[in-house]
Symmetry: C2
Subunit: 246 residues, 2 copies
């Protein structure tokens, strides 16, 4: 019941590291996992480099319940994710008959070239993540979920794979925007954090639309009562600060 399910994300792609493409997948997956009760613990971004992919994947898959990868499953020479993952698991890789059959129905013989067939390469023992609208399928092998880098396709794959994942007790959260500078409430906020151990309290400064400093306080807990108790303490503290300071 109280099992904690954890995850890591491995983003694969030279284009993210060069800054040419701005990643949109980390934030989406992070929010998605939070919503289904999976704790994202770590993200790594590596190049289209077999050694880097294998090393990062092996560390993450041993450490967390699940690993989600994005990128590198297309038809060109720089798409090396499937092969790297097969090597990381020490399994073979070949053209998956179901994917080849679907490609044969869709492409002419001339179109079904070696590049396109590359998208049918799936590590032995993996289950497909596919739908009628997805060309190159993703796959799940043991605790690793391999998805496309194109955000719309990755998002469709998350929807397909998520019912197959176990999820834990969802992290609950409440937030309040304080009309206060972070430096003015840091002391009392620390005291609240220390007296509410089963909660996690984050503090995020920003400027409101008039350029006045405000602070978002986010309280998180898996226990609704403890969350409420900590939030009540935060609200009482903020009311005191308001009386004293303004």
């Amino acid at each position: 019941m109280t099992e904690i399910v954890t995850a890591g994300i491995l983003v694969i792609g030279d284009e993210i590291l060069s800054g040419r493409t701005k990643d949109k997948n980390i934030g989406f997956i992070a929010e998605y996992l939070t919503n289904i009760g999976i704790d994202l613990k770590e993200v790594r971004v590596v190049a289209d480099d077999e050694i880097a992919i294998i090393e990062a994947l092996n560390e993450l898959r041993r450490r967390y319940t699940y690993v989600f990868t994005t990128g590198g499953i297309g038809p060109t020479h720089d798409d090396i994710t499937a092969d790297s993952i097969a090597k990381a698991f020490g399994v073979g890789i070949g053209h998956h008959p179901d994917v080849v059959a679907r490609f044969r129905a869709r492409f002419s013989d001339a179109e079904l070239n070696e590049a396109r067939l590359r998208m049918a390469r799936i590590p032995d023992g993996a289950e497909l993540i596919e739908s009628a609208t997805i060309l190159a399928p993703g796959f799940k092998i043991e605790n690793v979920v391999v998805m496309a880098g194109v955000p719309s396709i990755m998002q469709a794959m998350m929807d397909i794979v998520s019912p197959r994942l176990k999820s834990g007790v969802r992290m609950l959260s409440e937030s309040v925007k304080a009309q206060a500078r972070e430096g003015d409430i840091g002391g009392p906020l620390r005291a609240i954090a220390e007296t509410h151990p089963d909660t996690s309290i984050g503090s995020y400064p920003s400027l409101d639309e008039n350029g006045v400093p405000v602070t978002s306080i986010v309280v998180r807990s898996r226990d609704a009562d403890r969350l409420r108790a900590a939030m009540t303490a935060v609200e009482a503290m903020l009311a005191d600060v308001k009386v004293a300071g303004r």
Copy 2:
């Protein structure tokens, strides 16, 4: 002359892993480093967790010329970056006299509370990354550059610190948008990649404004002549595809 200067990024923050805040710093720093001739090799995102920060930092700082961190240098209890970095380096940490002096000039005694003084905690031996408009300074200790998580402040800190960094031979790049599906050009593109070893050729599919599949091909090299030769081969290949396919 031909030294390769490398970097890793360490993003620190629960709010990124929960999906509440969408990171905007990775893409900015990636592009910035590419422009000054530093190769970004890896990115990691970890929680506001001392052990996770220290472990990731120690791996990255041993592996790359520089490490850039973002987040966790504010005044609240969840801002543990400076202390974690001091521990990672095995050095002491205390209130930096220059920062305290600046705070004394800016804040009243009542305002200069323990929380605000926390922002003056700088590991021994670190040099400040500061300006008149930055409240909590960043710092550089050995090959690690520690910056704010708020994008506008982080960006100002990059401008301040970058003249202190050594930079390598800049990676040059050219790109062309092909009116072709990735699967149609994957074969010839692989052949070009194999015959142009000192270049890196990436292929990125997308849909144009009419929903027609197009492919961006990006060629990168530190050598201008080799870049041009590879790009010429790509352009010739694309002209052939156009004649044959349409």
